[in-house]
């Protein structure tokens, strides 16, 4: 029976000043799945959180589908050429991103995202990066404004037994 570590802290960042982007790079290919946990608030401006993998900035390589509730109604939608995965509000909130099977080199990469802002909305989102490369870096950035000081980002690796 394997007894090795299966849920491992790879890296974490706590912002000491407001920033619009953070990057986890040199991610090793020794795990099965990745999880990124964001917790914090926007400095002043509400915005979408975007994700780029391996430095690929081409929007047409990404697509997404989501379901969302704002407290009064539910909705769903799809974007065929966009890379937003979460939401950044000025109240304390969290976003959790799970990148499944990130290190294989044969399939496109799917990310499951959850956005949780009790004063604004709750969202589940699935996104696709149409590239078969193993994921070695993840960049998260806001479309406007900044992540506030004290915002945390934690990257975990889950290893198959």
């Amino acid at each position: 029976m394997a007894a090795g570590a299966t849920y491992v802290s790879i890296a974490s960042q706590t912002l000491t000043s407001a920033a619009s982007t953070i990057t986890f790079s040199s991610i090793p290919a020794i795990y099965t799945d990745l999880i990124i946990v964001h917790q914090g608030a926007a400095l002043t401006t509400t915005a979408l959180i975007n994700m780029e993998l391996n430095g690929d900035t081409t929007g047409s390589n990404y697509s997404l589908t989501f379901i969302i509730g704002d407290g009064s109604s539910a909705a769903s939608g799809q974007y065929t050429s966009d890379k937003f995965v979460g939401r950044n509000y000025t109240a304390q909130q969290n976003n959790i991103f799970q990148i499944m099977n990130y290190s294989n080199s044969t399939t496109y990469k799917t990310t499951l995202s959850r956005s949780n802002s009790a004063g604004n909305l709750v969202q589940a989102l699935v996104s696709l990066w149409r590239n078969t490369a193993a994921v070695t870096s993840v960049r998260l950035f806001v479309g406007a404004g900044n992540f506030d000081t004290g915002t945390t980002f934690s990257l975990y690796g889950i290893a198959a037994a």
Partner: protein, 171 residues
């Protein structure tokens, strides 16, 4: 590069006994982790209901809680907001016998001095005419470190309901 397991169970799984339970509480939670995860398998004892709500509260307080949920059952998906509670839903007494709802609650930075945001997913399938699936975003607007968690059902947790608490540690 850290290699230690950072997802560890805190204490033991709570299993509800034959008399049911009015709540499940985890207390004396140490501040040594970064995030908390609660995994729940539960059934509510409310008769006449296929599913019912349950809620989470912290440190023995029921103030400064709020949430928004999006959920679907057999009709059009809906969304609701709650100004004083963090609600989720689970199976109840009119659900197919022996079926229990599942929920996972994630609380990042639970020991920080910021307000605490909560992510929750819940499901309840009954092999019958109704079921529920949903997501909840919660907030406890309190700067205190979380030292206890209380799960409270609409009426009571049925026998064999379980809850487990885990700590996640970043280096």
């Amino acid at each position: 590069m850290a290699t230690a397991n950072t997802f560890v169970q805190i204490g033991s799984t709570v299993t509800v006994g034959g008399g049911g339970a009015a709540d499940i509480t985890f207390s004396s939670i140490p501040a040594t982790y970064t995030d908390l995860v609660v995994k729940i398998s539960s059934r509510d004892t409310t008769s006449g209901s296929v599913w019912q709500n349950f809620q989470i509260a912290f440190n023995g307080l029921t103030t400064n809680l709020s949430s928004r949920a999006v959920y679907g059952n057999i009709t059009t998906p809906s969304s609701a907001s709650f100004a004083s509670n963090i609600f989720m839903w689970t199976s109840a007494a009119n659900a197919t016998a022996s079926t229990f709802g599942n929920a996972e609650i994630y609380i990042p930075n639970y020991a920080s001095s910021n307000n605490k945001s909560v992510s929750a997913d819940f499901v309840s399938e009954t092999n019958g005419t109704d079921a529920i699936y949903g997501l909840t975003a919660g907030l406890w607007a309190d700067a205190s470190a979380i030292t206890s968690i209380k799960l409270t059902p609409a009426l009571g947790f049925a026998q064999y309901s379980t809850a487990s608490l885990y700590g996640i540690l970043k280096y």
